[in-house]
């Protein structure tokens, strides 16, 4: 799946460095922004409204009721079934990424409440190996789906991923069908599943659980698609249209329900859940 660029390299082009310094440069409009203002604005560019990539725990804090989050399976990590080695070994790559990101894996899962409504929550973090999906991501999400079913809670997933984790080869591909099967079970129980797409959501993640939400929400200007823009332009040997694969492009093509600003996310999710579960 050549849709992810630079998987394995957590420093990707769109990462906005939150500074020791006073200023940050928006990776979307390239404007220089006062960093205090940027952080106060929930890491959203005040000039162009680009919603920059934020860490999983930051996002959880913005979303759920104070101290309501209890993490599940925090120690579950991928093994190395292929003994994969490229320029360095996959094991080393995992260790380096764990140290850099201070995360053990790409996905954080747990139970929480949002305005008093209990939910099973999944949040992906792009800073860990480009949000790539391997066996641990698959297993943790399936367990979060099961937690939703057992407790009769709605499921909320925030996606951010370059796609499958190629260092886990066929095992990473099979996480797509694994999670999709679990989502299928959730739907049999008539429990709501809200899928929130954040920048970027591609490949094996978008082509499985991210696009299976009962309601699909995206953050403004997030890049979302199946194949990466570079792969597409190489294949068709054409320049891509402006704003191609941005959230607004998906909305206009009928692929998502709505675009919601980060500052309104909690309120919107709460309202949707209240309507769906008819509380």
């Amino acid at each position: 799946m050549a849709w992810f660029k630079k998987t394995g390299d957590p420093e990707t082009d769109k990462t906005v460095k939150i500074p020791q310094g006073l200023w940050v440069k928006c990776s979307s409009c390239k404007e220089i922004v006062y960093s205090k203002e940027f952080i106060k604005n929930l890491e959203v560019c005040p000039k162009c409204n680009y919603h920059s990539r934020i860490g999983a725990y930051t996002r959880i804090n913005l979303l759920v009721d104070h101290e309501s989050f209890s993490e599940t399976n925090p120690n579950l990590v991928s093994a190395d079934p292929l003994n994969f080695v490229d320029t360095i070994s996959y094991k080393e790559r995992l260790t380096i990424s764990q140290e850099k990101s201070r995360l053990k894996e790409t996905v954080v899962t747990g139970l929480a409440s949002i305005k008093g409504i209990p939910i099973s929550l999944v949040v992906m973090d792009f800073s860990f190996l480009g949000g790539s999906m391997g066996s641990a991501v698959g297993e943790k999400i399936v367990r979060a789906v099961n937690d939703a079913i057992v407790n009769e809670y709605p499921l909320v997933i925030f996606s951010s991923s370059g796609g499958a984790r190629m260092q886990e080869g066929i095992f990473s591909l099979m996480q797509m069908s694994k999670i999709s099967a679990a989502i299928g079970r959730l739907k049999e129980h008539s429990l709501p599943y809200l899928s929130v797409l954040t920048d970027p959501t591609f490949g094996g993640v978008s082509a499985s659980f991210a696009m299976l939400g009962d309601i699909i929400i995206a953050e403004p200007k997030s890049l979302i698609g199946f194949a990466g823009a570079r792969v597409i332009s190489q294949t068709i040997k054409q320049k891509l249209p402006e704003h191609f694969q941005e959230a607004e492009f998906l909305l206009s093509h009928g692929l998502i329900d709505m675009i919601v600003d980060r500052k309104d996310m909690q309120k919107t999710i709460t309202s949707l859940l209240i309507m769906l579960i008819n509380r």
Binding site: M1, A2, W3, K5, T7, G8, N75, L76, V77, S78, A79, D80, L82, F84, D86, T87, Q98, E99, R102, K104, S135, A136, G138, E139, A164, M166, E168, G169, I170, F171, S172, L173, M174, Q175, M176, S177, K178, S180, A181, A182, G184, E188, G204, A207, S208, F209, A210, M211, L212, G225, F226, A227, G228, I232, I236, P241, F244, H253, G254, L255
Partner: protein, 330 residues
């Protein structure tokens, strides 16, 4: 004219010689013993070459231009086949074919990726790379089969779903995702066979099944060796092949690898020298497996079938618990 892959070249010389001798034989010369000798020699050499293929060489066999494609198999294994077209919404995608068939008297829905052989047909089939409407056509046929309790057979042969502007506009991701979820709950037996290339999500979208088989020289991978090498070894088109070999090896994409991981249920043998050498024999081998699998899967109740499929799908993954101290995070 036969097409010889690089590592098949040693066969070419002997096979040309055999051809020459056959012609002199027709002219009345006694060359029987020499001919028999050469035929034995070429057969041994072919067996030797094909038993020692590297993963990268296997990729080339899986993509061999003479390899049988979905319709070649359908024509050989069915008593009758009626192709059904279109997704009822946008278009008919020639990169996926499907329809109702009879195999040894029983109804089977067959769906598969379809590559083309001539340049014209290859373009018509979009090189076997489906657009969303292809996956939606497949889903329509799958649901049709379910309603009439007809088992489903899918034949997998694509380098991947098509990466194009229209594909993105029409929801390639959604189409694949919907198939994955739907197939996991379809209430009839599903048998999948990787006949050539199993290229990532575009292959998997037809390959969620109760039984999954691979032809001996087929491949199945999350990314092509080319794509993998481009990302991890920064290989660009035209650079030497060594990194492609390394990538093909690292990805563990052969039928033997996938059987050892228990991702597939079994390997289907190919004729000596690969499926392209004898389409009929390859088709017979596939037909036997299809009939046996369907017969076996019919012994389960719908509930058992779905429970087994769900457990098969959700048990895949290699993970472990990591101590906090291992990272110094405690």
């Amino acid at each position: 004219m036969r097409i010889y892959l690089d590592f098949e070249k040693p066969l070419e010389e002997i096979e040309n010689k055999i051809e020459e001798l056959r012609q002199t034989k027709e002219a009345g010369e006694d060359v029987d013993s020499e001919l028999a000798n050469l035929e034995l020699k070429v057969s041994r050499l072919r067996t030797k070459i094909f038993s020692e293929l590297t993963p990268w060489q296997r990729c080339q066999v899986a993509r061999h231009p003479d390899r049988p494609y979905t319709l070649d198999y359908i024509n050989r294994i069915t008593d009758e086949f009626i192709e059904l077209h279109g997704d009822r919404a946008f278009a008919d995608d020639p990169a996926i074919v499907g329809g109702l068939s009879k195999i040894n008297g029983q109804s089977v829905m067959i769906i598969g990726h379809q590559k083309g052989r001539s340049l014209k047909e290859r373009i018509y089939r979009n090189f076997g790379q489906p657009n969303p409407e292809g996956y939606r056509k497949a889903l329509r046929l799958i649901r049709l089969a379910e309603r009439f309790s007809i088992p489903i057979v899918t034949l997998i042969d694509t380098q991947g779903a098509y990466p194009g502007i229209g594909a993105e506009e029409r929801g390639q991701s959604e189409a694949i995702a919907s198939n994955l979820m739907a197939l996991s709950g379809i209430q009839v037996p599903i048998v999948s066979i990787v006949i050539g290339e199993g290229g990532s999500g575009g292959a998997l979208a037809l390959a969620v099944a109760d039984r999954i088989y691979m032809l001996e020289n087929s491949i199945y991978s999350v990314i092509s060796p080319e794509g993998c090498a481009a990302i991890l070894w920064k290989v660009t088109p035209g650079s030497p092949n060594t990194n492609l070999s390394t990538a093909a090896e690292a990805l563990k994409l052969t039928s033997r690898d996938l059987l050892s991981f228990r991702i597939i249920d079994d390997i289907i043998r190919e004729p000596q020298g690969g499926a392209h050498m004898d389409h009929n024999e390859a088709a017979r081998n596939i037909k036997r497996v299809i009939l046996n699998s369907i017969e076996e899967l019919r012994t389960y109740s719908t509930e058992e079938l779905l429970e087994n499929r769900y457990n098969k799908l959700t048990s895949i993954g290699e993970y472990t618990e990591m101590d906090d101290r291992e990272m110094g995070m405690a």
